[in-house]
Amino acid sequence: MSLLKIEGLEARHGLLTAVQGISLEIEQGETLALVGANGAGKTTLLRTLAGVHPVAAGRIVFDGVDVSALPAHRRAAAGLALVPEGRKLFPAMTVQENLLVALSAKREGRWNLGSVLDAFPQLKPKLKAAAGTLSGGQQQAVAIGRALMTNPRVLLLDEVSLGLSPLAVQGVYDSLRTLMGKGTAHGTTIVLVEQDLARTFQVADRIVCMLEGRVVASGRADEMTRDQVMAYYFGHRTPAAGGTSQPASTASST
């Protein structure tokens, strides 16, 4: 059974339907990357999964339970955590407070203040510093650490490399690969939105390409080429026009 199942999901911004009938299934331990141009609906999809954007239609089933109507804090308590675009730290609070506030999710697991600091040692000397005073890379580490503190079963990562130096991005992805216990039976499931296709191919098991709120292509990362994804990315190729991807197998839009 899939850990996270999305059925005919729709989400709107006023009159605009940003997510149009998306259906996806995500397995335990899988790393799924959502790619697509700006305005494709990736961020809205993640925010809707996390519960900070309302579901207009469809269902989100998490571990066999329909969580579509649950507020965001209940989904965090169930094990869905979002690292939002732009990090969204609490800038006046210290790094330690930013991390500890995530204990509100009240989930037991391997992540606590000590293990997060072991994973992000650069934060140790900054524990008492206001989060708003940190560098971009350090802030991203806090944002990921804060999400990990909720001991999530599914980690939703929205453009974690945005605005970071290449070195900081490398650091974040190195940490992610190590932290998530990739390949192990109990590894955290990741859904990530990333603009950097090269990096996406490195970390993802499966790639889902979105265009104008719909899934236009989906396939295993090792079976797709960058050119194919780029063609879907910019709408030069559509599912109807054919292609080597599998838009209807594990991902579809209605």
């Binding site: 900070v52 804090h73 965090a76 955590a81 969204k88 609490f90 500890l100 506030v101 509100s104 999710a105």
Partner: protein
């Protein structure tokens, strides 16, 4: 010596204003809501204590043990039934709804208790008039000192709670960004309701001191709201700023009263307006200055001014 006396009395009065403004500042800081029923709720607490004192001979300070939980419950209900719903409709609606609530409360209290002025002073024995004589012959009232001490303790307690407890972290997170706070498991709705309950706890204490140090009637609330509002504006949104705001207001009124018999209220209002204007114009001038320095800097150094 007269001026020093006025300064000391103003400081004591400032303690009361800080106590009164504490809940208003807390709600504004956490939820961005200006509760126009704040003064009326303080008077409601005062009436509760009055009933306990008059009918059951309960000392007002002891009566707080019963009134504080009731006011906290009222705060919780107030948030769930009024503030939460009205805040969804924009920033103006909570102002209107709390204004309406104040009217309902004032007139309900008038209906229940009539227009007679009351006071809790007769129920606190000599505390209402006893004082200590300081060097130089300055006399400070024991009740005034107690008020200041309670104000500092309350603000200090709130400060500690906000900075050193899990609830405090949740409150600060929800105050900054409720959506993101929810993402990490904070139930912003409950946090706001708890914050309103905490604010009403401080309102109950403020109501007790209002009624012990002076008289009150069903329409005293709006006047108390003005003083609380002025203290918050003068001091800014922080809790310690509220204490300073209360003291500045108290000292201004006290010195104003010394300058002219009618100067008590006017001096307080003048200081409030001066601080408000200074905040608006000084902030604007500072912004313009920063902009001009930045543009001068970038025109001199061109692209080199931008850091990678």
């Amino acid at each position: 010596m007269i001026w020093l006396n006025q300064l000391v009395q103003g400081l004591m009065l400032g303690g009361y204003y800080a106590l009164l403004a504490c809940g208003l500042s807390f709600m504004f800081g956490v939820m961005g809501i200006i509760n126009l029923a704040h003064g009326s709720l303080a008077v409601l607490a005062a009436y509760m204590l009055f009933v306990l004192a008059e009918r059951f001979e309960v000392h007002p300070l002891l009566g707080l043990v019963a009134v504080i939980p009731v006011m906290a419950l009222i705060g919780w209900v107030l948030h769930r039934l009024v503030l939460e719903r009205s805040a969804r409709a924009g920033a103006l609606i909570p102002l209107l709804s709390t204004f309406g609530l104040a009217s309902v409360l004032d007139n309900s209290m008038f209906q229940a208790f009539g227009a007679d002025t009351r006071s809790l002073a007769p129920y606190i024995d000599s505390l209402s008039y006893d004082g200590w004589t300081l060097p130089g012959g300055i006399i400070v009232g024991q009740l005034a000192v107690l008020t200041l001490v309670v104000a500092i303790a309350l603000l200090g307690g709130l400060h500690l709670m906000l900075n050193h407890t899990a609830l405090g972290r949740r409150i600060r997170a929800a105050a900054h960004d409720p959506d993101t706070a929810q993402l990490v498991g904070v139930d912003a709705r409950s946090v706001y309701a708890a914050s309103t309950a905490i604010a009403m706890t401080t309102v109950a204490i403020a109501g007790a001191f209002l009624a012990m140090r002076a008289t009150f009637d069903p329409y005293t609330g709006p006047y108390q709201l003005i003083f609380a509002f002025e203290a918050v504006i003068i001091g800014g949104r922080s809790l310690w700023g509220t204490l300073m705001g209360g003291i500045v207001l108290g000292v201004a009124q006290s010195i104003g009263a010394q300058v002219h018999p009618q100067g008590f209220l006017i001096a307080g209002h003048v200081v409030f307006l001066a601080v408000l204007l200074a905040r608006v114009y000084a902030a604007d001038t500072l912004r313009r200055w920063v902009r001009s320095v930045r543009s001068r800097f970038s025109s001199q150094f061109g692209n080199r001014a931008t850091t990678p």
